[in-house]
Each structure stands twice: as C-alpha cells, then as structure tokens.
C-alpha cells in the first residue's frame, strides 16, 4: 500500500512519440513506474500516444489510453477516470509540460487530482530561468552570467555588456531545440529569433559561454523527508559546448579528484534541496579544468535520458524509486532491488567503467549539418561496460552498427595529414575517429590534441594506448603475447585480423588455443560489497574469475536491436521484450543480449539474464560458448539481429524460427524473384546491377520512373525514385558504392496504394492478424506513411488476393514466426514490394489494435508449437469494428538542413496512434498526437508540382468550400482560377518583399500544401518554404494524399465532438461502442 493513504487511482502521463531528445528511455521509465504502482496495489491509468511502447500494453496499466497528449484529451480522461493522483515526472519534458498546463488550466484542481512527486512550484523553480537564477543566487551556487530576453533588443544589450561567445537557450523545450553558441551579433540575432519561436513561453536565455570546461553530471534523488543521495556521477568526454545527449559520456567521473567530486556532489544536494524536488533529478555542471571553480549549467527536475543511463550504469532503478517517493515512501523504507537486503538509501559504487556513445542519424540525413553543439541531434545511444576505458569505448563503437569495429573509419585512409589535422578543431560525429587517426599517424601529440579539442588528456592518452597497439599489430607478428595484449585492450578479433592480415577465424581459433577468453562480471550497485543476485552481466578480458552461474535449464538467447535509429526504433525493443516474456512463460530461461541503455529490454528484471554487450558475431558467440543455449532467436531484434543470423548459424548455432537459408531467400534479390516466379506472384519489374552501364540499360528496359537502392537496406537507406537517365547517373555516382559484392537494385516505380501485412506462420498455417493500408501512395517510405487498420478503400477482391499471396509466400519461405510483407496495389492488381522474414515496425501497433499477442505467438511457434495448438486458424482474422491510424512523427526541428518532404528514404523518428470508431476522428487523433496543429480556419498556401496540378484543383476547391482562404504561387493560382477559385497570388521566394517565407514568418499562412517537382532533389525555394514551416510550426503537407485526409478530418471537425476517449481495454474488449 502506498504511504499516502488517500491514493487509490493514479494517472501516469507518458512521453509520446520518439523524437530526438526524447526517446525510448521514457518507455523504460514509464513501464517501470506503472509496474511499481501496480505492485503497491494502485489502479493505474496510463495516457500515451505512442503505440510502439511496452508501457501502452494493456497489461502494464489497468486503463491504457492511446490518445493525443494534449490538455483537451488529458482533461477528458481525467474527468472520466477521476484519478486521485497524477504522475508526470516520468514522461520526459512532454509529460512535465503537460502537467504544468493541466495545473494552470485548473483541471487538476477541478477534479481534485494531486500532482505527485515534485510540485509545480518546484518544477518552475528548476525550469523557469529567472526563478532558477534567483534560487541559485539565494543558495550561493554559481551560474554563468545570464539574462532572459523576450525580444532581440535585450539580447543585444546583454551581449554589449559581457561580450562573446554566448550561449542561447530557449526556455521549456525538448533537447535544447533552437539553441546554440554565438560568436557575433549576426549569429546572436539569428539564434535568438529562432529560440524565441521554439520556447513554449517565448523566452530565451542568453549566457556566458563556458565552452571547453569539463562537463560533469550528477543524478540525484530526494525524498519527502529531505534525504538526498547521488546515484551516479558522469563525465562528458566532450567538454561543455556539445549537448550532453550528443556527447560521449563516461561514468563514474574519471579525472576528478575526490575534492572536486565532493564539491560538486555537495552542490548537487544543496540544489535538489533548494528546489524541493521529490524524486529523481539531473544536475549538470561546468568545471574549470584549471581552478576547481564551477558553474551550474542545468537542472532537469524529472527522470531524464541521463537517469535511464545512470540506472543502467549502476543497476539502481531510478524510475522505480522515484515513483515510490512520489507516493510517500522515504528512501530508507525502499528496499534495494539488487541486493534485496540493503535499502535504496545509499549511493551506488561501481567497479567498472561505463561509456555511453550517441547514435546520430547522419547516415540517413546525408545533407544534414554534422557538427555538434547545444542542439541535440542523436536519435539514440549505446552503452558499454568494461574494466578499462579502452575496452569500454571499443565495445561502444562496435555497438553503434555504423560499419566500424575500432576507432578507425575507412574513408579517413584517403585523407591526407593536413586534412586530418585541420579537422581536429571541428566538433562533429567523427571527432573521436579523427583523433585516433591523428594519433595513429603520429601527426599530433596527445598534448596538442587536448589543446585543440579541450578534451581531457586522460582520454586522449587512453585512445593512444589503442592506436599504439594497432600499430604494433600492424608491424609485428601475431603471437600469443600480442594477441593477449590486444584482447586485454579490448580490440575485436575482426580488428586484429584486419590489422595483422590474419583470417578472422584464425584469430578466433588462436584465441581458443591460448585460452584467451573474456570473463563475465555482475552489475550489482555495490562493487561486490554485498551479495546480489542481479542477473545483469558484462564481459571483460581484465579479470580472472567469471561469476556467471550457468544453469542446466532449457535456455534460449534473444538478440536485441541495439541503438534507436531512424528505421529501427523502439518497436523492436518491444518485440524483444515480448519474446523474452513468451520464453519465460513457456518455462524457458530467456537470455537477452543488447546494448541500448534506454530500453525496457535492458532492465535487469525483464529477462532471466541480461548481457549488456555489443551485438557482433564475436561478442554474441562468446556468450553462446559460455551459456551453451539451445539456440538463438533473431527475428525480433530488427535488422541488427537478422544480420547476425548467417554468421551465427555458420558457427553452428541453432537459429530458432525461420531458417537462415529462407531468410536469405527473402532478402536475396535473385532468389526471391525465383520464388515469386514459381509462385506466380507478380512484383514490380526489377533488376539487380553491379555497374553503371547495366543500370542504365536495365532502367531503360523497365521504363522510368524507377526506384533505385542498394541491396540489404534498412529503413530505405539511400533509396530514391529517379525519373530519367541523367538522374540515374547522378544517383549512381553520389548515393551508392556499386561493386559486385554490393549490387544496386533498380525497380519499376508503381504509383499505387501501399499495403502492409504482418503475419505469423508455423510452416502449416498462416495467421494474418490484420492488414494496414497506407494513406500516402507508394513512393513514400512505409515508415513515414500514415497507416490505417483495417483498410478503408481496398475492395474485397484485393484483400482476398493479399491474403492468398501472404499465405503462399509464408509457406514457400517456410516461415516459423513473423513475417512482414509490403504490397502495392495499382489498377486493382496486387504486387509484392518486399518481404521481411522477421518482426516489423508495425507489430506493436497491430498487436495492440487486434488484441493478438503476435510476438508471443510467433515465439512459441519458433519454439515448435503450432498455431492450431495455440488456438489460431489460417487466414485473415476478422477486422475489428474500430479504426486505428498510425501516423509518423518527425524530428525536423532538430535537424536544420534536412528537407522535410517525404520520399522513399525514411525520415520519421517515431509514431503515434489514433483509435476511434470513426475513421475521421481516429485520423484526427493521430494527426493531433503527431503534433500537427491543423488550423480550423485561415489561409492555406498551395504550391505544387505541375504533375499534381489537376489533382490539386479538387483539393483546393474542397478546402475553399470549407471556408479557407487559398493562396498560391502564380502557376498554381492560375490553375485554380480556371475552376473558379479565387486564389490570391503570392510571390515566390525573393520575388517580392512580401514573399512566401515572409508571409509564413508573419503568421499569415496557417497550412502549406507543397509537392516537389519530380526528380528535383535540391529545389531551393521549395526547401526554404518547407524549412520555414518547420521553424514556425506551421503544418506542411508534402503529399496530396495526406492533404486529402486532413480535409476529411476538417470536415469531420465541423460537426462532431473532437475529444472522445476510450481506453484500449474498452476497444479490444468490445465495450462502449457509442461514439
């Protein structure tokens, strides 16, 4: 029972879709929160718009509302559910902001809901710059000289007083959106204006820049009895100036003396007390490397990305303990979940080093600015643990899946010394590799590098230890001694093979011959002081004793999905977790291997054993050699896990589920074509080419437009639609390296309706839980399309054909488990685009709306159970009477040079769901949940490509009839006038003083419909218009299909209740069907 006796029902706010700055860590925190509330016997109501999460599973909370995170919806849910308390500190900045809005709107008072944990006043004291400054001044904690401005003049006055460089930070935003370091007045004006726009309260903080100082963080907790503890200290490898989310971070601090450590620790406790935070909090400091003086940079009065990291780094469950504090417990009353004998009121001591490494989306956003600053750009991160920094950083790099297995990037081999040296001062995603390259070549001393980069010498010397070893391996023979030393340092077998010219298998064999194996150590929060039974392990070559107890149980390894990136998000963690649960349910010991600290799967009480390790063949095989499991499940960890299947199978590991050969048949172009021919299933014509000439001939045969992409892709990487030979030549020279080993695929581009299916097959039967129809026509990546369940426009004949094809392909591939198929329907014919013999991004969504535990069933099937035995029958499951819409969410505001127009390359970072009995309202919920502010009236700008002008006419007419004012560029306006729409002509960019950009900036345009001329990839005006809409938060629709649906929503909005909420339990239980 909670300590606060008045609490029976609690409402928890989740963090919504995954965006840069707010990722899977809040699924981890939120799930942990809900579970620990239920543990206390409380009724839990959860609201979160993100269907891809564990926390929105019907069994995590008593009532799960997958609804938009807006004040309107929250108020309606509160009114309906009448909770006693609201918990918002585990839903990231989104949750916190919403709590503040709910308090200010009076909803909490009206329905008598107590805000649990940190109070609104405390939140404001930490978040409002002026209040924060006052508080810090009162308790004598130094903060950089700063001022808050609400207009540009204040900014300039302040700069004139204290000089440059300055940092500009908008108040109340996610992940530092819109901020930056400025060195002169011009930059100051630009950044301030942008910051004012992003701030929820129109305020921007301008402060002295302390770039180059050490950045140190503390995770701190405080309970209602004023007990305070620090959970973890963290030191940023990158000095102040790079957002901590974009920094390489180590824990605990490495270069601080005890005195420095304690000065900052004491300051942390003083601050959390002054702010009266109840729960977890993150405090960031800048420490002068020369003088011990410091500044407080920032305080997050909530569970944050850093708290997730600190939890995984130490084993201390911050979210869980925060929740217990929120419902009235004190730290000394809460049991330490790791030791089970001691209390949560202590400070973890670790006996390893932790490295966190960000995962950036620059592989997707090839035109994006890769420099790092105060605006976070990473979509995800990896964490690694070892007993040395060298070992940990190398593991981290291996975990990133960026084609790198040591501190070396192939492309830098071609760079001359001068280029390497010059780039050292550039702060970007490749800096670590560049430093290593400089050291490897001996063109800069550690001292020089430390001087240029301001990265502490300690780190640079450690990197040099690695490069020195590499040079030794390159020069000398590989013998037992050098091999041992290389492994002690943490180099991968693959790296050693690469450096010595030996064969990979020979290195592995040699290692076995000389008995050079890693040992596994436990993460136990207390540096072995107390006995612990945490099944949470990491490997190290620096140790004699292995402390993992290998059981004799039946056991199976589930491979996780690694860091969150575009194309492989939290959905795959959802699947991994469910697979683990299914195994445990079946009485099998479930072992998970993963390296993402933000996720539920790496919570140590999810699986029977958690190995926090890189997902490479070597790292996985080491665990398999040790644990000797029955086999491995690869179908739930996204492409990360699938990619390991072949090499694991080659090493004799049993792969549960679909066989490696059949995985290859689905992924290998020619073998797949053969299969389709045999099955007589059509697909868009296509070929696989290994050189430019073949590509040109092939494309001409197929007929333009064609879709081109490299084989074995993830999330549509480097996929484009090209309309003629010139563009094809451009693509082949720019986007891909075509070699006989890396063919390029050229397919006919079919403009039709895209349809996606997830199915489960046991080799005999094929169950199709549901079909999803995409709103945007083929050509927009499926991950960026709005998907609708069940299909709204497909004739039954098409549905029948899709069902039939799905069954036949599943059986032909002898799938045991999940498969995902994408189809395009053109002129009533169904074509197969691709088959993924694994779980997909839509599995969590579909599982939730169909109430079929797809991963659970697939796991059991992979283990050998039959679908019939589990109660399922072949075919398409009868569609539900409601509609669910999955809408993509983008992080364009964080990536300034990225074009927002949609295409075959995936750009979204997350998703939301809207569910309702009315299609239009489900759509409204999805679009609103995705953060698009659809205007109810006002002015819509049309500027579309010639090919779209006919279709656009009808669309504009419809909008006009709804009372919108239509403005358009000249050509578009003429087309509209021809059908009698009085469209105002606006100037193209730079055409007049009141051009489009100006009008958008002045708030005269409320929505934009913009389509790109085919093939023009860098149409500058369109790009600028689209970016302007992002900067100003104006909805911009780049597909006419989306625009039509928005129209439909607007029509619906005219005469229906917009806010109507039901819990997922109501829908699937078939309850209240009256909308």
């Amino acid at each position: 029972m909670p300590k606060k006796k008045n609490l029976n029902k609690i409402i928890v706010i989740g963090s919504g879709p995954i965006v840069i700055g707010q990722a899977a860590e809040f699924d981890y925190a939120g799930s942990q929160a809900c579970r620990s509330l239920k543990e206390e016997g409380l009724e839990v109501v959860l609201v979160n718009s993100n269907p891809a999460t564990i926390m929105t599973d019907a069994n995590i909370a008593d009532r799960v509302y997958i609804e938009p995170l807006t004040v309107d919806f929250l108020t309606a849910i509160i009114e309906k559910e009448r909770p006693d308390g609201l918990l918002a500190t585990l839903g990231g900045q989104a949750g916190l902001n919403l709590a503040v809005q709910l308090a200010e709107s009076g909803a909490l008072d009206k329905f008598n809901v107590e805000l649990l944990g940190t109070s609104i006043n405390a939140i404001k004291k930490a978040e409002d710059r002026e209040l924060f400054k006052e508080t810090m001044e009162r308790i004598g904690e130094p903060i950089p000289e700063s001022t808050i401005v609400e207009d540009i003049h204040g900014a300039i006055d302040f700069a004139n007083q204290i000089g440059y460089p300055l940092i500009v930070r908008p108040a109340y935003t996610l992940g530092g959106t819109g901020g930056g370091i400025v060195n002169n007045e011009e930059e100051l004006i630009e950044t301030t204006l942008r910051g004012l726009k992003y701030s929820m309260i129109g305020q921007v903080l301008i402060e002295r820049s302390i770039a180059g100082w050490k950045e140190i963080e503390y995770e701190v907790m405080r309970d209602g009895n004023d007990n305070c503890i620090t959970i973890c200290s963290m030191e940023n490898f990158d000095p102040v100036g790079v957002h901590t989310g974009d920094s390489i971070v180590v824990a605990p601090t490495q270069t601080l003396t005890d005195q420095e450590y304690q000065i900052l620790r004491s300051a942390s406790l003083k601050i959390i007390r002054a702010l009266e935070i109840e729960g977890g909090c993150n405090i960031q400091f800048a420490l002068d490397p020369k003088s011990q003086s410091y500044y407080v940079i920032e305080v997050n009065p909530r569970v944050s990305r850093s708290s997730a990291l600190a939890s995984k780094a130490t084993g201390y469950p911050i979210a869980k303990v925060s929740v217990k504090i929120a419902i009235g417990y004190t730290l000394d009353e809460i049991v330490n979940a790791v030791t089970k004998t001691t209390k949560a009121c202590f400070e973890p001591s670790v006996d390893y080093i932790v490295v966190k490494f960000p995962r950036w989306p620059f592989d997707k956003f090839v035109y994006a600015d890769t420099t790092l600053g105060t605006q976070m750009k990473a979509t995800g991160e990896v964490m690694s643990l070892d007993r040395t920094f060298e070992g940990a950083i190398l593991k981290a790099v291996r975990s990133l899946e960026i084609g790198v297995n040591r501190l070396h990037m192939d492309k830098m081999d071609d760079w001359d010394d001068d280029r390497i040296k010059k780039r050292l001062s550039r702060i970007d995603d490749e800096r670590l590799f560049l430093i290593a390259e400089a050291l490897r070549r001996g063109i800069a001393t550690p001292e020089e590098i430390a001087d240029i980069t301001k990265i502490d010498r300690w780190f640079i010397d450690k990197i040099k230890n690695i490069t020195d070893m590499e040079v030794r391996l390159q020069k000398g023979d590989l013998n037992a001694k050098t091999l041992r030393e290389a492994k002690l340092l943490g180099l991968a077998d693959k790296s050693i093979a690469e450096l010595t010219g030996a064969k990979l298998n020979d290195v592995r064999d040699m290692r076995k011959q000389f008995k050079i194996f890693p040992v596994y150590k436990m993460v136990d929060t207390c540096a072995a002081e107390f006995e612990a039974a945490t099944p949470y392990y990491y490997s190290t070559y620096r140790g004699e004793v292995d402390e993992v107890e290998v059981s004799n149980n039946r056991k199976i390894v589930v491979l996780g999905s690694g860091p969150i990136r575009i194309g492989q998000g939290v959905e795959f963690d959802y699947c991994s977790v469910h697979s683990v649960w299914a195994l445990r349910e079946a009485g099998v010991e479930a072992i998970i291997i993963n390296n993402n600290p933000e996720t539920v799967s790496t919570d140590f009480d999810i699986s029977d054993k958690l190995y926090f390790e890189p997902l490479t063949t070597e790292d996985v095989l080491n665990i398999i050699d040790k644990e000797k499991p029955e086999g491995v499940i690869v179908q739930f960890g996204g492409q990360t896990a699938i990619n390991l299947a072949a090499s694991l199978a080659a090493a004799g590991v049993k792969i549960f589920g679909t066989s490696v050969d059949n995985i290859d048949r689905a992924e290998d172009r020619e073998r797949f074509d053969e299969m389709l021919t045999e099955l007589n299933i059509p697909r868009p014509r296509g070929i696989s080419v290994t050189n430019l000439d073949d590509a040109i001939t092939g494309a001409a045969n197929i007929g333009y437009p064609v879709m081109v992409r490299p084989s074995y892709v993830l999330g549509g990487r480097a996929m484009e639609i090209v309309y003629n030979e010139e563009e094809l030549r451009d693509y082949m020279s720019r986007a891909v390296k075509v070699t006989p080993d890396h063919p390029v695929l050229v397919d006919r581009y079919m403009q039709g309706t895209e349809v996606e299916v997830d199915a489960i097959c046991d080799g005999v039967d094929v169950v199709i839980p549901g079909i999803m129809e995409h709103v945007e026509r083929a050509g927009v990546h499926s991950g960026d399309s709005i998907a609708v369940y069940p299909p709204q426009t497909l004739p039954s004949k098409v549905i029948y054909t899709i069902t039939d094809y799905t069954k036949r392909m599943a059986l032909a591939l002898n799938v045991h488990g999940l498969l995902n198929i994408q189809y395009v329907v053109a002129d009533g014919c169904v074509y197969v685009i691709e088959v993924n013999p694994r779980s997909s991004r839509t599995v969590p969504f579909l599982s939730k709306v169909t109430n079929i535990k797809m991963v659970n069933v697939a796991t059991r099937v992979a283990l050998g159970e039959t679908l019939k035995g589990l109660g399922y029958y072949s075919g398409l499951v009868e569609p539900k009477p409601y509609v669910a819409v999955k809408a993509p969410v983008f992080s364009f505001a964080k990536m300034q040079d990225v074009d927002i127009s949609l295409g075959p390359e995936m750009k979204s970072t997350g998703e939301v769901m809207g569910i309702d009995y009315h299609y239009a309202r489900a759509l409204y919920k999805a679009i609103t949940g995705a953060g698009m502010n659809i205007p109810k009236n006002g002015c819509i700008l049309f500027t579309v490509a010639d090919k779209d002008k006919e279709e656009m006419k009808q669309l504009a007419k419809a909008f006009s009839e709804l009372g919108f004012k239509i403005v358009a560029t000249e050509g578009t306006a003429k087309a509209l006038q021809s059908i009698g729409i009085d469209a105002e002509v606006v100037g193209k960019v730079h055409q007049r003083s009141t051009d489009i950009i100006q009008m958008i900036k002045l708030g005269k345009i409320h929505m934009v419909v913009n389509t790109q001329a085919p093939g023009k990839h860098i149409a500058k005006d369109g790009f600028r218009i689209r970016r302007a809409t992002v900067e100003l938060g104006v909805p911009c629709l780049t597909s006419l299909d989306t625009a039509w649906e928005v129209m439909r929503v607007l029509t619906f909005m005219r005469d229906r209740r917009l806010v109507y909420s039901l819990a997922i339990q109501d829908y699937v239980g078939g309850g209240d069907a009256l909308a």
Binding site: T230, D258, W458, A528, V545
Partner: protein, 360 residues
C-alpha cells in the same frame, strides 16, 4: 614484474608487482569501495599495516598532490588495484600515483581482478595475505604468512610529541588524543576557529586535563580497540571532566571506557557510500567509513548511553551519546576526505557542547 597475493586460506590472485621483487608485504587484506580518494585512503593512518584493495578498477587517474595527504606519511601495508594509471591528468597533480608509491615505499600489486578478490573477502571475511613476487620462495611466503597481525599499530601512527595549532580568540580549545588522526579532522575543527593541541595516544588523563581544554577529541586510528587497554583506562578518567567527541577508533575506545564491548565485523565498512540513519531526526546521511570493528549493541544495555546513529545497511551502531553528559561519538568520518561532506555539522555540535559546558 609478475607478482601475486596469497591469502591465508591459500587463494591466490595474480597481478603485476610494482617496485620490483623487494616490494613484498604482509598484512590484513581489506577492501574499500570508494571511487575517488585513493590518496586520502593511502594516507589515512587507520589503514596502518593493512593491505588495501580498491574496488574501483582505474586508480591513479588524477595523480597525487600534497594537499590531499591525511597524515605525515602513508602507513598502509600495501595496495592492490586493477589498473594503475600511467598517464594521469589533473591540474592539481604534483606526482603520479606510481611516483607517490615509490616515495612512500608502498608495495603495490596491480592488474589484479579486484572484484574477484573483493567477493572472496566478502564471503570469507577479512584475512591475512601476503604480496610477493612470482619468484619469492615458498619458505619466505610461509614465514611472512606466519607473522601475527601486529597489535601495536596506534603506537606507530600517533604523534611522538605534542603540538598545537592556533585558533581564533574566543573559540573553544580542543585537545585531540591522536590515535592516528586524519588531517581533515584537525582542519574541520580549526575551520570552526578551534585551537587544537594534538597529544600522543598514550598521554595520561592528568596531562590532558592539565592543558585545561574546553573539550577532548578522541581520534580515529588503526587496529582493534581492545589492543589499547592503557588508553581506554585514561579515557575512562576523562569522562565527566570535559565534553568529549570521538570518531571511529575514538568512538570504540570511548564505548569500551564506558563499559561497553566491541567485536570484529566480518569484512568491515570501508567506502564513501555508507548510509547512516540519525535516530534522533529519522534522516539518513551518506558517510565515509573505514572500520573493521563495531560496538556490541547488547553491551550498551544498562549503560547511560543513547544510540544516535545506525548503519542502514546492517543495523550496526554508528553513533551514540551519553544520556546526561556532553559526550558523543560516531563510527563514521564526518570530516570526509575522502567521501561526502554530509555530516560536517557534527563538529558544530561538538563546539556547541563545549561552549555550553564552559558557560554552565
């Protein structure tokens, strides 16, 4: 060169011996879980003759500097670490840890699986061990192993002669009985203005009182408190004469002087993360600790003593006060260095007691 630690029960841990084949040592093997503060630990006299294992694997990262020394020299028997940092980095650094170890003649075994060793001590209890080179003869090892754990450690660490540190006019005057006092304790009292005279451990009570102090401080120090009956006898005479404040060994000696009993803990409390609950306020503070013995709670029954602090981890006594006299003591280290500063207010309380006593 290759070296090893051999424990009394025969368990062996291999590593590299720092300082060559002569750098062998023997002593009781203990572990400390602090992640920073290795220099403060190495110069804390309470570790006299002990072989200290640091559980954090990367040691020496920020080098050493005179200002962090806690006594005139290091008294530890030896050091066992994972990685001994070769290239430290800190603006305050004067010597690398390796240079410091050489200057202080501290034998060190590094590249050791310190976690495995810690687990061993945790389950088997602290025991004697020897650090030897790979080539040390079995005869020598047996001889070293047979040496008893020394009992005269306080004698080794205490100041040979009295000395006085000036204070502010009007502030209390403290006589510190030095059983192995850490410099930061003296600094903490001087920061509050106290004039402090440090006297040798075996100073008779009469000599202490002859200095006419406002209060008496019983310092921390090494070893088993029952090994110093002479000191306990003198402390007994001081009870009731002046306000007394004790820390660590001083706390244990005070308890024994009041008629209580002490016992040896299985593996002690050594680290910077030890939670202690103040029973008078109900609040918990994170403390720095270094002790292998504790006061037997049962033995306090019937004595004019109130338990004020307990360890949240194992419930052992971490502080008490006299029910009527201005006498109090704690098992942990409010002076920190290394460790958190959460309990420095205890020195204020001592000052308050002295002022009150003087005024009465």
């Amino acid at each position: 060169m290759k070296g090893k630690l051999i424990l009394q029960d025969g368990t062996t841990f291999r590593g590299q011996l720092f300082g060559g084949s002569n750098a062998t040592t023997e002593g009781e093997v203990v572990f400390n879980t602090g992640m920073t503060g290795y220099q403060e630990i190495l110069t804390d006299p309470s570790y006299c003759r002990q072989i200290v294992t640091l559980t954090y694997p990367l040691i020496g990262n920020y080098g050493t500097a005179k200002q962090f020394n806690q006594s005139r020299k290091s008294f530890v028997g030896g050091l066992i670490v994972g990685e001994l940092c070769e290239k430290p980095s800190s603006s305050s650094m004067q010597k690398t840890l390796a240079e410091f170890l050489t200057a202080e003649k501290i034998p060190c075994l590094y590249d050791v699986d310190t976690r495995a060793l810690t687990r061993k001590i945790r389950s088997a209890g602290t025991m004697k061990g020897v650090i030897v080179s790979e080539y040390t003869s079995q005869g020598t090892i047996d001889e070293m192993m047979s040496l008893p754990i020394r009992k005269n450690v306080v004698e080794q660490v205490t100041t040979p002669v009295s000395y006085t540190l000036d204070g502010r006019a009007g502030a209390p005057y403290v006589v510190t009985m030095d059983f192995g006092v850490k410099r930061n304790i003296l600094d903490a009292m001087r920061k509050l203005g106290c004039k402090v005279t440090v006297v040798p451990a075996k100073s008779p009570a009469e000599a202490v009182l002859a200095l006419n102090p406002d209060g008496i401080f019983l310092s921390n120090g090494p070893g088993d408190p029952k090994d110093v009956p002479d000191i306990i006898r003198e402390v007994k005479k001081l009870i009731g004469q002046r306000p007394i404040f004790g820390i660590c060994l001083g706390h244990q000696i005070l308890a024994l002087a009041m008629g209580a009993n002490t016992y040896k803990l299985k593996f002690g409390h050594r680290g910077s993360n030890q939670p202690v609950k103040d029973l008078t306020t109900g609040k918990v503070a994170i403390t720095s600790q270094n002790h292998g013995y504790a006061i037997d709670a049962k033995s306090l029954e019937g004595l004019p003593v109130q338990i004020t602090h307990v360890s949240l981890n194992d419930g052992t006594i971490e502080g008490f006060r006299h029910t009527s006299l201005p006498i109090s003591s704690v098992q942990y280290h409010p002076e920190a260095a290394p460790g958190p500063n959460d309990s420095v207010h205890l020195f204020d309380e001592f000052i308050f007691n002295m002022k009150k006593f003087k005024g009465a």
